[in-house]
């Protein structure tokens, strides 16, 4: 079995190489037979990698502990779903998942475009398959997922496996890695199209139109992956945080930042023909940051609390990145004359410049995060001294950047293209500004002025909310007046007419909600106590009473559980059960925190264990204001993104706006 798996990977590697060679040769020699054969090779790669993945999953599910990978990442007592997720629980498996996802994406791309873009597609195939063969090379020759243990060679089945880390046995962890990977891998596709259009000297926006949906979908996957990670950290790790500026977290954030910048700056190219070089740079940057992120998490180059092992694959990634980046830079420089801007920046107060500022600070943030993440490596290379920077560095830079971004979120969509008059600015922003100032005044009265950043943040969130509501209000009112329907149907009609614009507003609204949640962190309260059963303590306006301590065990773990009665001003609010477990297979203790989630604040209790004399419970209790809005914001963001993907209702009634022009141009390209 393991032989078939390893053979499939090896064959897939050969087919991927063949697809690259056949595409390039077929294109240069104008041999369409070779080009088609390359595309068939892509399908074969998918079949082979799927076979290998299927075999690995089968081994995991049936518990074939002769295989090193199975023994290291599962044990016989684990639930089926976690045995399945062990597919991406370790190095080899997750590289296999990467390859499988890319093979799947490539197959879809090749199939969907089998009659379109005939001049560009061979190059797209080439870029996709070069990347694919790199990952297949890693699992074929360096880190095979099908390696057999020494003990297994003599057919002596050793033990029951070491098990998946119990901290990872949680529902968001089941989907967090594949979500992130769907995002990471997905950016290979727009990158491949960008390179294809550069190589074939197509200056136009065909690659942007074709890959717009890809980009939005993969961006959504990435957002979901990051947010699931935050949700997991919050609910499982017991310190109530969701972001620690750890290198691995930063690695997932970096391409998300450049992708967000890309999603905005392509609008400049579509509408004005500007920033063509910049868009090339952004999409290439995003792709290489995705690879770089995989490299960071998989090579152990920067020590991380995520504790991924040191491994021999780092040097391959460095080589791939170096060659890839060099080739891309040379290609872009070579093709500069095809990427000339068609318009000039006319005013600092214009939609164009708001996009540019949005890009500037996103890229600055990306650079700062990258710099901070790589600081130990950079400082060691420059001074010989290994120095790391920590959360204060990231927060100092990124909090102002975040505030500036949220400000632009309010300004950008309402400001006119080309240039804006003072009058129109007044009309658009008077009410939102007043709303923001009033809110800030009220909050300051309640003492929020002690946290100036938080105060500004709330004010800006109000500002953006007001602009978004006014946009929906204006548009929907017009439809209401004309068609005589209610506000909600009018708003839906409005959104359907221009899904990108109004879906975009919804995404912005989601971001605002998330900012509200993040801002809440300024008001966290926490306390650590040792309390005997029957004792009580106060936290903020809560009174917490430890009613009981119980113990027990089952097949997988032993547990101790507290019963905590929460009340406020004497009125009971409910019972919480924080728990502490000791998993038997791995001897790993874990905390199961108890959270009382409410919209205004979460009450969060972690049972850290019994004190040395076994008589008192060590409890960490927290109040996290507004944290639920982060998760709400994510759902709004996801909904808005999906709205963006819905095609506009055909025959727009305001036929002369530029948006329609773009839609028609798009249709023309599709034909």
């Amino acid at each position: 079995m393991e032989n078939i798996g390893a053979l499939s990977i090896l064959l897939a590697f050969c087919f991927a190489i063949y697809a690259v060679v056949a595409s390039v040769v077929g294109k240069l020699k104008k041999n369409s037979f070779l080009i088609v054969s390359a595309e068939r090779a892509v399908y074969s790669v998918w079949v082979l990698v799927t076979t290998a993945s299927g075999l690995l999953i089968y081994s995991l599910l049936t518990g074939d502990f002769r295989l090193a990978y199975v023994a290291a990442h599962t044990d016989s007592s684990m639930k089926m779903i976690y045995k399945f997720t062990a597919w991406w629980g370790g190095q080899q498996g997750s590289l296999l998942l990467w390859s499988w996802l890319l093979a799947t994406y490539s197959t879809v791309v090749v199939f969907m475009n089998r009659r379109k873009f005939r001049d560009m597609m061979p190059w797209v195939t080439t870029v996709l398959m070069v990347t694919e063969s790199f990952f297949l090379m890693l699992i074929a020759f360096v880190l095979s997922p099908f390696a057999v243990l020494e003990a297994g060679r003599g057919n002596i089945v050793e033990g029951v496996g070491q098990g998946l880390n119990p901290l990872l046995q949680y529902w968001t962890m089941v989907i967090h890695p594949p979500m992130l990977y769907l995002g990471y891998v997905g950016f290979t596709v727009p990158f491949a199209f960008a390179m294809g259009s550069l190589i074939t000297k197509q200056p136009g926006d065909a690659w942007i139109h074709t890959t717009r949906r890809w980009t939005i979908v993969t961006w959504l996957f990435q957002s979901a992956g990051i947010l699931l990670g935050q949700g997991w950290a919050y609910a499982v790790l017991g310190w109530g945080g969701y972001w620690a500026w750890d290198p691995v977290e930063n690695a997932s954030l970096l391409p998300w930042i450049t992708a967000t910048a890309f999603l905005h700056s392509v609008m400049m190219q579509e509408k004005k023909g500007m920033m063509k070089v910049w868009n090339m740079v952004l999409i290439s940057g995003t792709f290489f940051l995705c690879i770089f992120g995989t490299f960071l998490t998989r090579s152990g180059v920067v020590s991380s609390v995520h504790a991924f092992a040191q491994s021999p694959i780092g040097k391959y990634f460095v080589m791939f990145l170096a060659v890839g980046i060099a080739a891309t830079v040379i290609l872009i420089l070579e093709r500069l004359k095809y990427l000339k801007s068609e318009a000039r920046l006319e005013s600092v107060v214009s939609r164009e410049s708001s996009f540019m500022f949005n890009n500037l600070i996103l890229v600055a943030s990306c650079f700062a995060v990258l710099w901070g993440t790589m600081f130990p490596v950079i400082s060691e290379a420059l001074t010989g001294e290994k120095i790391s920077v920590d959360a204060p560095f990231f927060n100092r830079i990124n909090i102002p950047i975040g505030l500036a971004l949220i400000f632009l979120t309010g300004i950008g969509p309402l400001i006119a293209w080309r240039r804006s008059s003072i009058e129109s600015l007044k009309r658009a922003f008077m009410m939102p500004s007043i709303a923001a100032v009033v809110l800030m005044g009220v909050l300051a009265g309640f003492g929020v002025w002690e946290h100036p950043y938080a105060l500004v943040s709330f004010g800006l969130c109000m500002f953006v909310t007001a602009t978004i509501i006014s946009e929906f209000w204006k548009g929907a009112s017009a439809i209401r007046a004309k068609d005589g329907v209610g506000f909600l149907p009018a708003a839906i009609t409005l959104t359907h007419r221009n899904t990108r614009r109004y879906g975009g507003y919804l995404v912005h609204m989601g971001i605002v909600f998330m900012f509200i949640g993040y801002t809440g962190a300024a008001f966290d309260v926490n306390v650590t106590k040792e309390i005997p059963p029957g004792g009580s303590f106060a936290l903020g306006h809560y009174d917490l009473h430890i009613a009981n301590v119980e113990q027990g065990e089952n097949d997988t773990y032993a547990w101790q559980r507290l019963t905590v009665d929460a009340s406020r001003n004497g009125s009971p609010l409910g019972v919480l059960y924080p728990e502490r477990r000791l998993y038997k297979a791995s001897q790993q203790p874990t905390s199961e925190v108890a959270i009382r989630r409410r919209l205004n604040e979460d009450l969060y209790i972690n049972f850290a264990g019994l004190s040395a004399d076994n008589k008192r419970a060590v409890i960490q209790a927290y109040v996290f204001p507004l944290v639920s809005w982060i998760w709400i914001g994510f759902w709004v963001l996801a909904f808005g993104t999906i709205v963006c993907l819905i095609p506009n209702k055909v025959r727009l009634s305001y036929a002369r706006t530029q948006v329609v022009g773009v839609a028609e141009k798009h249709a023309a390209v599709e034909r």
Partner: protein
Amino acid sequence: MNTYWKFGAIVAVVIGVLTWLGMGGVNESKTYYKEIKEVKAMGVHADTERLRVNGYVQQGSIVRDGAKVSFILHETPGMLQNDPERLEVVYNGADPLPDTFKDNAQALADGKLGQDGVFHASKVQAKCASKYEAKPQMKTDATPVRTQARG
């Protein structure tokens, strides 16, 4: 004034402010990676800089006293009291220690060396015990666990 000049001036201001913020952030939070013997050798100078020390938790050395936790780190795993390269650490941070922090675990302590020769940590991270990584080529992705003192 030309639009591009105006734009350039704003860009310069933005970048300048961010650089200034970044430099402040670096100075506030820079932490030197040191080995235990280097920390010992630094002596009196060590109490001015934030340090990050990597080591293995001595079996049975973890003592909890309320929120305060003290333990002993060793350069090499499995060492006991007589090892000269060891460091007494006191953790007094607000957040709970990670679940992976236990006897023989590999731990990273961030903090400062006090005049008393005890290392005062404000943040402790821990990786799973080395059991998982015993066999080369078969390393396991251990635990994403952290504890962190919020700034």
